[in-house]
Amino acid sequence: MSWGYLIRRLLAIILVLVIVTFAVFAITAILPGNAAIMILGEYATPDAVAALQKQLHLDQPWYMQYYSWVSGILLHGDFGMSLRLSLPVTQVVGEAFLNSALLAVTALVAVTIIAIPLGALAALKRGTAVDLIIGLFSYLGTALPEFVTATLLLVFLAAPNTGPFPAGGFVAPWEDLGGFASHIVLPAVTLGLILLAHVSRQVRSEMSEVLSSDYVRAARLKGLSERRVIRRHALPNSLAPAVAVISLDIGYLLGGIIVVEEIFAWPGLGRVLMYALENRDLPVIQAVTLLLAGIYAVSNLVSDIVIALLDPRVRYA
């Protein structure tokens, strides 16, 4: 992996992000209504709307708004002000990002720790009851949308007074670690379930492919212990594809976060985005979209790097 390759990938990511922001700006401009109308609601009078539009610079054409937005970022590193909340976008999005990251990373780490052994186990016990149960579970996992999982979890695990978990909300880990832990369980489980199912299925299929490969056969025919065959020969080779799947799944994760945060009152990016969408808060929509797309693109790049580290055959030039 050369520096040139990295730089080219990063440039490609930037290009992608530019396309994304431009598209978002252009399509938001053709929407009916705007932030001023949404802020004033049904009590709006035409002169109040006009006054607010002027105050928010919504009276300018969209390309001028785009220009001032872009130049704000490039010249001053300033992502503008939220139209609805009158706060700097960086402040609105920044804290939300941190909270979302806590949730997403927790879910992802849990998924990685559980899914890989689970998938490997299913592959090893291929065709047995264990495989069938894991398979059934993973199929069910992929067929339950987050909002259904979340709702069912709430009904069964967060019923007031009887459920073991809080029904939602957020406690910062630096304020109260125990509180944070109990609050993150249900959203993380909801987010993780689809990924868990998906990743374990992928690991299973990769692992079964690796297990039937010539070199695993060769390792067995060398008389190596089954433990060594699996841990040293089979597992490392099925990890690289698993990493690729996990990085692709970050896309799902970023989508799932929108629903999960809404349901579990987790003050993260998803909630900010939904709120911004409802209120036509363009600078916030832009920043969140940009951030999510950026995270996704960077995670793909990171996964390529990790794959290259895991598999000596992979080299990028």
């Binding site: 929407l31 949308p145 970023l254 989508g255 629903v259 809404e262 939904m274 929509i285 797309a293 996704y296």
Partner: protein, 272 residues
């Protein structure tokens, strides 16, 4: 065919799919009640002899509502996927067949669109279009397009380097003949498999949009919306969220399993 049904995945998938399709085709006819009819005295009831799956907050029969929601839900999945697959395949085939700068331009744009997570992309489009079932359908279709284009392109590319295509090129066949008779028939199966699986995603995204208030709107019996509407009452009657929720899972699972089984059956590498 017999081989297809020898795998449990195929059997369960086909069975679930059959149930869901039956509900989609005949659900409204076999429903015991009018799905919109209020029964004010029987609100939020559990399953009973009269209301087999219970009732919702207006005393509407859940079974009838679920059965009536089936056509909308399934049609949503099928049409959204069909449109997405249609447009995506055309783009992908054009990219794959043309190669060169056409291919790279198309691919760069697709990469850009693929960088936006599916649900986020759909949300943005739905917001632009203004919500509602038709718009949600269009949004899912658009969100599917780049991914399908990618799959179609790679299917075409993998076929394009096959020797029978080269043989056609060497014979001096026209581009049209090669694409229509040599490339497409062979590139079709991965597209078909992917489409089947995507129907389940479409159903799930559609339901999620309904849940978020951006898809189907009351008094529709779309399943995601049913969950959303009943959520307030979930502690009083879990059935009214569980029934539509599990219906979604069943439909998604059916298409998913069927698609997987189809892949196994069509993939020569996996067949014995």
């Amino acid at each position: 065919m017999r081989k297809f049904f020898s795998s449990p995945t195929a059997v369960v998938g086909t069975l679930l799919l059959a149930i869901v399709l039956f509900a989609a085709l005949f659900g409204p006819l076999v429903a015991p009640f009018d799905p919109q009819e209020f029964h004010p005295v029987a609100r939020l009831q559990g399953p009973s002899a009269t209301y087999w799956l219970g009732t919702d907050q207006f005393g509407r029969d859940l079974l009838s509502r679920v059965l009536n929601g089936a056509p909308a839900t399934v049609a949503f999945g099928l049409f959204a996927t069909a449109i997405g697959v249609g447009i995506g395949s055309v783009i992908g085939v054009i990219a794959g067949v043309s190669g060169g700068w056409v291919d790279s331009t198309i691919m760069r744009i697709l990469d850009g669109l693929l960088a936006v997570p599916d649900l986020l992309f759909t949300l943005l489009i739905v917001t632009v279009l203004g919500g509602g079932m038709e718009h949600a359908l269009l949004a899912v279709a658009i969100a599917f397009t780049p991914g399908m284009a990618r799959i179609a392109r790679s299917a075409v590319l993998s076929v394009r380097t096959r020797d029978y295509v080269r043989a056609a090129v060497a014979r001096g066949e026209s581009g049209f003949y090669i694409v229509t008779f040599e490339v497409l028939p062979n590139a079709l199966s991965p597209i078909v498999v992917e489409s089947t699986i995507r129907v389940s995603f479409a159903i799930m995204i559609g339901a999620t949009l309904g849940f978020l208030g951006l898809g189907a709107q009351p008094p529709s019996t779309e399943w995601g919306l049913m969950v959303a509407e009943a959520r307030q009452f979930m502690f009083r009657n879990p059935w009214c969220v569980a029934i539509p929720g599990l219906s979604i899972a069943m439909a998604a699972l059916g298409f998913n399993l069927f698609g997987d089984a189809l892949r196994d059956a069509l993939d020569p590498r996996r067949s014995h």
